[in-house]
Amino acid sequence: MNSHTISLYAAAIRHAILDHEADIECLDREIGDGDHYINMKRGCEVIASMTDELTALSAADALNKIGMKLLSTIGGASGPLFASFFMSMSKTLKGSETLNTLQMALAFEAGVQAIMQRGKAQAGEKTMLDVLIPVANTFKQMAEQDKSSQEIATALKQVASTGLESTRNMLATKGRASGLGERAIGHLDAGAKSCEVMIHAVCDAVLIS
């Protein structure tokens, strides 16, 4: 992976998020405040506008730039979380030029850990982490087992969907839905949904190439 691939993935993510407007918006309306899709869209648009700038950078620098830009653009809960994700990935990859799959997996894991720290959250709290943690785990395992990109992409899509679905029957104990108690049960988490959509988008991009 290099900064060019990163930009391609960003474009794929943007398309996927825009395609899922209705689902994502609806979920944050049900047990949140209705702005999650708008926040995601704002983030996607600003990254799309930076393509030229990003491709001139190393992968690590591009990821850091993305994190910084998201931090000053998204706001809300998802802003600092996604920003932490990318800035932490960047830190892990610092110095490496083109990256192999295991480096990517480890960077992804570091990113997810940064989200956990920033959000003081674990798996099982009905947040984006219920998608991201299992994805990070599977990603690392399969990379360590030297699985092909194709195999990994196919598996991660499945894990992401399962993670998303797992949020349905959870009580929320983090984020805005945590005030709802039992009333949150039966609804998917919006942030988990957008993470699932993004992971599918990147995996599909990998599968096509």
């Binding site: 918006e25 309306r29 049900e30 047990i31 949140g32 405040d33 209705g34 702005d35 899709y37 708008i38 926040n39 704002r42 931090l71 000053s72 653009t73 998204i74 706001g75 809300g76 809960a77 998802s78 802003g79 600092p80 979380l81 920003a83 920033r118 959000g119 009580l171 929320a172 104990t173 983090k174 984020g175 805005r176 839905a177 945590s178 005030g179 709802l180 108690g181 009333r183």
Partner: protein, 332 residues
Amino acid sequence: MKKFLNNVDQMLVESLSGFAAAHSDLVDIQFDPTFVARKQKSDNKVVLISGGGSGHEPLHAGYVGRGMLDAACPGQVFTSPTPDQMLAAAEAVHAGKGVLFIVKNYAGDVMNFEMTTEMLPFEHATVLTSDDCAVVNSTYTTGRRGVAGTVIVEKCVGSLAETGADLASCKALGDKINVRTSSIGAALTSCTVPAAGRPTFDISEDEIEMGVGIHGEPGRRREAMREADAIVGDMVAAIVQDIEAKQLPTHGDILLLVNGLGATPLMELYLIYNTAAKLLTEKGFHITRSLVGNYTTAIDMAGASLTVCLLDNEITQHWDSPVHTAGLRWGC
């Protein structure tokens, strides 16, 4: 959705520009990063900076001015502002004695302010407001939401800061008021986030959302629409129960704030005040300060919240001191 707007993406900038123009005697505005600051910079005092998603007007920009905030950072509608806004605001207003952030307790706001303070070159502290007692007996762990009680914190701590008090004292007063303040809201209709273009929740003519949040988050329960006395009775009971749970006295002087959520007329707010004041007085409270109006809104929601703050001499004195902002003004 039917609103006075040109283009959803420009709405906030246009509205903030109008705010700054209408109050150009009081505030300056800066965009990218966006913040509103007092026209007249403070000198040698703790500066108060607040912020949060837009849609709660006059909170927070309407409370920038003498005796209250030094700056406010408006985020996108219902979306907490970003660290670059807060850093720029702090840079612009810092007056040598540190920065006190007043933050409503929401995951997003907390995280953005936290990331700000990690980068801030000034001494700082944060008062986290969490006056909403809507949700009880739940297993949540992120704590209660900050709602209309935030106005009382901003007013009184603003007053104390004006006296030259240090950062620790300002934070202490803010924390004390927050503990002594309980709020609860009830919605008759949903709000509509302009960029979403449709109501956040559906609610029928014979239902209300009890314990609603100021972003249209669902509350305690969906219940049957009833007469005002019954609704207000439940709201007062929730507040009294909360005060008891905090082991604070359910008697003595209080400030009663009846806050409109955006689309509820004064006639109804005063009717609510009438019932709430009677019930609280029967309970043994003595209402010595009152505020009725739209002070912490949820865009265009029809609904209202009640806030009770247990007063003491210090809080009362700081409530009464002069304030000159777009949203609150007295004594000057």
